[in-house]
């Protein structure tokens, strides 16, 4: 299930999930912790706070590994959502209501094609981001780094989000069907 040209983060996180594999966790930590730290510092956290929060985020990744389903989201997206919530907590001291959990846990035998598609989305979006005019990319970065208020955020990203939406929509339909 590993993609050809990048490390198989999803495979590693599944090892953490299923076997509490510490070597797999260490590999994830080396890749993601410095990125989470950078994300938090760009969002206005000082170095010490960002380091501390990045530690928290990685510990949460370990603790919540049981919720990770590689056919739903890439590891980068999963780490981002944890880091974002930690940021809201630490920097804005606000609460973020989360949608109701759906009754779908990780599928013990997920469809490998679906896993591959979900895991490659981050890479594909990364290429699309790089291809955007600089001014547009900067607006998206500023929105996600917390530099824009909700009324300043521009809805039009120019990114191909339709394919991601459709894939998740389909998975939700399948789930609703199973639940009857």
């Amino acid at each position: 299930m590993a993609t050809t040209d990048e490390t198989d983060w999803a495979g590693l996180l599944v090892k953490v999930r299923d076997h509490q594999d510490r070597a797999a966790f260490a590999a994830l930590f080396r890749h993601f912790a410095p990125r989470v730290k950078a994300f938090l510092m760009k969002s206005g956290a000082g170095a010490a706070l960002a380091e501390e929060c990045a530690q928290d985020v990685m510990a949460t990744l370990w603790q919540k590994a049981h919720l990770f389903d590689p056919s739903r989201a890439s590891v980068a997206t999963w780490v981002f959502t944890i880091a974002r919530n930690r940021r809201i907590d630490a920097l804005r001291k606000a609460r973020r209501a989360e949608p109701e959990e759906l009754d779908w846990g990780p599928d013990p035998e997920p469809d490998q094609a679906e896993v591959m598609e979900a895991q490659q989305e981050t890479e594909r979006l990364g290429r699309a981001l790089a291809a955007l005019p600089a001014s547009q990319r900067v607006l998206i970065e500023r929105a996600f780094y917390g530099e824009l208020s909700h009324s300043e955020i521009a809805a039009e990203t120019g990114l191909p989000l339709g394919t991601i939406k459709s894939r998740i929509r389909l998975a939700l339909e399948k789930l609703r069907h199973q639940l009857g």
């Binding site: 966790f25 109701e100 990364g126």
Partner: protein, 215 residues
């Protein structure tokens, strides 16, 4: 799942994914997404943008002993096991039930006149959220849209000159919207509303006291 015709805007979903909404708006978005698979999927696609940004971001080196500390730290951490999600039996999806501390029977309503009741929910001060109870056939209180206002229907329905809003539908109003929504006949209408403008109680109450006669 009922058919939802009025959805969240891309702007709100992106701001939710970016973590930039006031708490009261987070609550409305999370409650709508709980009822709406379409917006759940759209929200996830904006999360994926955050994932791509994180992946592409520069790295800032962690402290030398960071990995050792992390490994020590997870040593003592139990991995949570999957628990069955709580499925509220009432009309409030989980995030709202969490704020209210239960379902409809747990709401501490205050009368505001004309049979209309409201309950302000505890959120941060940058925006406010409240539940509204509007008897069937009564005018929805007009809050004089300053700033942005979100209204999510949880029970019953309301309609204005242009449209009808039923369970799960969300109305997004800004300063330009001027309308006279009315709770439709049938079930009493219950909505979750949030605004980032200060609530204007003084001007509100006299207007609320006059149930609208035309439907």
């Amino acid at each position: 799942m009922t058919t939802i015709r009025h959805h969240l805007s891309d702007q709100l979903l992106m701001a939710y994914a970016a973590g930039q909404l006031p708490e009261a708006f987070n609550l409305v978005v999370a409650t709508h997404v709980s009822l709406c698979d379409e917006c759940r999927a759209r929200a996830a696609s904006f999360d994926a943008v955050g994932g791509a940004l994180l992946e592409e971001a520069e790295e800032i080196a962690m402290g030398e002993d960071a990995l050792t500390r992390a490994l020590e730290r997870i040593e003592g951490l139990p991995q949570a096991t999957r628990s069955e999600p709580l499925k509220p039996a009432g009309i409030f999806p989980a995030p709202l039930a969490d704020y209210v501390g239960g379902d409809l029977s747990a709401v501490r309503w205050r009368k505001v006149g004309g049979g209309v009741k409201q309950a302000i929910l505890p959120t941060g001060k940058d925006a406010s959220a409240r539940l509204l109870y509007i008897p069937a056939g009564t005018a929805v209180p007009d809050h004089g849209h300053r700033g942005m206002e979100l209204t999510l229907v949880l029970q019953g329905a309301f309609a204005d000159e242009n449209d009808r809003f039923g369970r799960g539908d969300i109305e997004i109003a800004d300063e330009e919207v001027e309308h006279t929504p009315v709770a439709l006949a049938g079930e009493d209408c219950i909505c979750l509303a949030a605004t980032d403008a200060p609530l204007r109680f003084r001007g509100l109450i006299p207007r609320l006291a006059q149930p609208l006669l035309r439907i």
